[in-house]
């Protein structure tokens, strides 16, 4: 190291070539890999310099004292950087584990029922998601579906989201009554979750025999209902306050009938609050986009819509994205 630097400095003082400067740049990389601190580098320079230039003026030699003293501070900042980088890596890998755990809270089995065509896509903006979705088929063949959205982002929202899953598991089966389910869930959330965390949720259940879709919403972004006969999208209009605000809340339940080819779309506000060039897209744009892919099976439809919206915002999601589609088969 000493020899190498000595050669470089000797060369440079002789020919001032760019080539030597380039070697110096490579040398610095190597020294960083070897954890040579800035003050040690300066000290190396000083000793080499003293050796190859005889009779250095005293001022030059003394001036290095000052430089060395200043470099100690840079050396500390450098080492702090290294240790923070290690910590960052560790946090990163912990976060990956947490994200995998969170993934395991979502339904893992595909929903396969002859009467419906079902698809869902959920993508977090960061590593962890503040969105939650759920689906289930009960013994009578009724299908329950839900999308929830924790207001807020990142890890706190994600932890809150994990609690919803357990809250859902803790309330008895009432999958066919969306309003009653939300009322119960509201009580659990109100009691257990911090008052500054809010959760919106839409719950729907589909009865494949009567083809009716029942739904209720707790302050959630309205979904869509696509009517095949007229080729139009309608908003799934609902009223209801977000979960966890007050212990006694009543939710309003609505229903509609699905004809063959009709479908409902539940989503999180990460879908509708997509920003393109700084401006939110309109709900109309979202329904148009869904319409564009309606010839595809529901799963592909959801994925295509996501892909297109992702591209529209240059692959930088601002918010967690969840889109769930349930279509009555012909």
């Amino acid at each position: 190291m000493y020899q190498l630097y000595k050669e470089m400095l000797t060369n440079y003082l002789r020919n001032k070539s760019e080539h030597t400067l380039y070697s110096a740049q490579q040398f610095s990389k190597e020294m960083m890999v070897k954890d040579l601190s800035p003050e040690e580098m300066v000290s190396l320079h000083i000793s080499v310099f003293k050796e190859i230039v005889e009779d250095l003026p005293e001022e030059v030699i003394d001036s290095f004292d000052l430089l060395l003293e200043v470099m100690i501070g840079y050396g500390l900042a450098h080492r702090e950087h290294l240790s923070l980088r290690d910590r960052q890596r560790q946090l990163e890998s912990e976060l990956n584990v947490a994200a995998r755990m969170q993934q395991s809270l979502l339904p893992s089995k595909e929903l396969k029922v002859d009467e419906v065509d079902f698809g869902v896509t959920s993508v977090p903006a960061g590593k962890m998601s503040g969105d939650y979705y759920h689906y289930i088929v009960d013994e009578q063949g009724h299908i329950g579906v839900a999308v929830a959205d924790v207001i807020g982002k990142g890890i706190p929202a994600a932890m809150c989201m994990s609690m919803i899953k357990y809250a859902m598991d803790s309330i008895p089966e009432q999958r066919l009554q969306p309003a009653a389910l939300l009322e119960n869930l509201n009580r659990v959330v109100e009691r257990n979750i911090d008052s500054d965390m809010f959760i919106t949720m839409v719950y729907g259940s589909y009865d494949p025999k009567s083809h009716r879709f029942y739904f209720a919403s707790a302050g959630h972004e309205p979904g869509f209902f696509y009517e095949a006969a007229t080729n139009t999208f309608h908003d799934l209009k609902t009223k209801g306050i977000v979960l966890g605000v007050s212990p006694k809340v009543q939710y309003h339940e609505s229903s509609l009938k699905l004809e063959p080819g009709d479908f409902v779309v539940l989503l999180s506000d990460g879908v509708t609050e997509t920003r393109v060039n700084g401006e939110f897209i309109e709900r109309k744009d979202v329904s148009q986009l869904i319409g564009k892919y309606k010839h595809l099976p529901a799963q592909l439809m959801a994925e295509q819509v996501f892909r297109e919206l992702e591209r529209m915002q240059d692959f930088q999601l601002k918010d967690d994205f969840t889109l769930l589609i349930l279509r009555r088969n012909v």
Partner: protein, 133 residues
């Protein structure tokens, strides 16, 4: 012969005097210029903390040795307010001044051995040793 000096810290002058004493001893023991600068930086940080947070205190500087090595030991003692959460102040990135890498974690890095003893309302004692290699 083992030398021990102590410097009262109650002004910026005290800080400079402590640095001077530290550098002198380090040089005598045979530390190179980089380590001299490290030792004096550590002294500065400790002395400055005394001056800023406890108003007054002492810095002791002495030579230490064990079986096969010699070193410089710095001890900073004050009867000031003490440090409430020592673990927190020893974490990187937690200095109130946001001083990049300096502060107490910096002192620990600059030196080889580091111990801190602090009790709220009862003062702080920090000692650090740098061994000659």
């Amino acid at each position: 012969m083992q030398v021990q000096t102590h410097v009262d810290i109650n002004s910026e002058w005290g800080i400079v005097a402590a640095r001077q004493a530290g550098r002198k001893l380090a040089r005598e023991i045979g530390f190179g210029s980089v380590d001299q600068a490290r030792i004096t930086t550590a002294i500065s940080e400790l002395a400055r903390n005394i001056y800023l947070y406890a108003n007054k205190g002492q810095i002791y500087i002495e030579e230490v040795s064990n079986a096969n090595k010699r070193g410089v030991k710095i001890t900073a003692i004050d009867q000031g307010p003490g440090i409430k959460d020592v673990r927190k102040v020893m974490e990187d990135g937690f200095t109130t001044s946001g001083g990049l890498g300096a502060g107490l974690p910096g002192v620990r890095r600059l030196m080889d051995d580091f111990t801190i003893d602090s009790e709220v309302n009862n003062g702080t004692t920090i000692s650090a040793i740098k061994w000659l290699r």
